[in-house]
């Protein structure tokens, strides 16, 4: 496999953005691609550093693309830039322009993320359902379904930068809002894999667990025993997402190339 770090100029953000890309060295067919988002303190390097992701995609002859989303929560910030547009439109188009070996087919493209990146995966996946056929959300939910105010704390201020003052649930930031909107449109519906650790609060299910069962989405919620909000969970969850939920099985056990 080739492990690449790309410094990509984004016109939407007017910024150089680092992106990690894992690609087979000799792609022999259009590559299935998993697009993965980091958590709120993370960046594009962490999925590769803390999980076995490269091994999982190598065994399956597929690609992984891991952008940096900074502190945007992967949405279009109220006081900031349009990271949602960058991730759902520009990044996808530019990656496919640079790497024509990436599949453009909806059924070959899957978004995923952990913690705030799980919210990002929901948000981007539901906003661009014609691009992604599946959403893998690990340890996260509808972050936008809260009341935000700049109460002087770091957390308050950071969320106000993204969502503004008030509750953005009934806007393009809202996971449930986007899901209902998509239902009204009649799809296309991304398949949803929602995972949490037993030892974290969302391990008992959150507002989305019941919500999606009422809508025409394929939705699976899975709790991993004995783990909390940690890489031990996310390594298992991303494997489960790719291998079991998406059904992409290993084709080789060759340990190099």
């Amino acid at each position: 496999m080739a492990f690449m770090e790309i410094n990509l100029y984004s016109e939407v953000l007017n910024l150089e953005i680092p992106v990690s890309v894992i690609l087979p060295q000799q792609p022999s067919r259009p590559l299935k691609t998993v697009w993965l988002y980091h958590g709120s303190t993370g960046d594009h390097t962490l999925w590769a550093r803390y999980t076995n992701l490269e091994r999982y995609v190598r065994e399956r002859g597929m690609a992984a693309i891991i952008p940096t989303g900074h502190k945007s929560l992967f949405t279009n910030m109220v006081h900031g830039q349009d990271y949602g547009t960058f991730l759902g439109e520009e990044l996808v188009a530019r990656m496919r322009q640079i790497f024509p070996c990436l599949s453009r087919a909806r059924e070959d493209n899957y978004v995923g993320g952990l913690s705030n990146g799980a919210y990002g995966a929901f948000r981007v996946g539901l906003r661009y359902p014609e691009t992604f056929c599946a959403i893998g959300a690990f340890s996260g939910g509808d972050t936008a379904d809260q009341y935000f105010t700049d109460d002087g704390t770091y957390r308050g201020r950071r969320h106000v930068l993204v969502f503004g003052e008030g509750c953005p649930a009934e806007s393009e930031h809202g996971v449930k809002y986007l899901a209902r909107k998509l239902t009204k449109q009649g799809g296309p519906y991304p398949r949803i894999y929602h995972a949490a650790g037993e030892l974290e609060p969302s391990g008992r299910g959150d507002g989305l667990t019941g919500f999606f069962k009422e809508l025409p989405f394929e939705y699976r919620f899975e709790v991993f025993p004995g783990v909390g909000h940690e890489w031990k969970l996310w390594d298992q969850a991303v494997f489960r997402y790719i291998d079991d939920f998406l059904g992409i099985k290993a084709e080789t056990t060759k340990y190099y190339v």
Partner: protein
Amino acid sequence: MDWIYVQMQSESARTPLPLDILVPDRRFPGPYKTVFLLHDMAGNNTSWMRHTNIEERLAETGAVLVMPSCLNSFYVNMYYGYDMLDYMTKELVQLCEGWFRLDQRRESRLVAGLGMGGYGAVRAALAAPEVFGTAVSLDGFLDPGRFYQEKLAAVKMEDVMGPEGYFRRSPNNLWVAARGLAYNVKPEIVLISSAKDAFRNEAEALYTAMTEWGISACLKTDEEKGLDFLAEKVRAM
């Protein structure tokens, strides 16, 4: 341009090797011409980007720039060591063509290098003229045989090229490779010699020999103009 750092496993060299690649910005849809930029002795994939403004100079040419790391191998299949000529002329080209939308005509591929990389560029084009349309040597070490006498720090020529007598008769000697070029297609060889030093004499001698043997060669000797010549050549591809 967008900058890509790649860590990959070379099957020919049987070792992981890093690469730096610059791809044209979105205004250029491809297929792209390809410029392979080879580093000097003691350099690596980062040398061209760190020591020149190559991105600035070539950004408007619409070419993909590929900067491999070939250690101190002189880009040959080493007598004791890595098969870097196979990596350069076969594997690296195939890898890049698998990943990117490249123009696969030989005239759309140029290989250029500095010092040891200048030698490597000419060696690669003479070994695989069906792959590389043009080679540009910037102050290349065109006769590495000199290093059997002038010892190099940390590089044993015997390990790279074999015993001196063997090297003199082998195609790693550019004079042997040029004279023996049997292909119908012959590469264009540009020898740039920016300093009046011993390497200038080698460039002049190789230029004369190549011209005599029907290889399209040119010799540029303007001081400090090397990268301008290279940029002009890439633009005109």
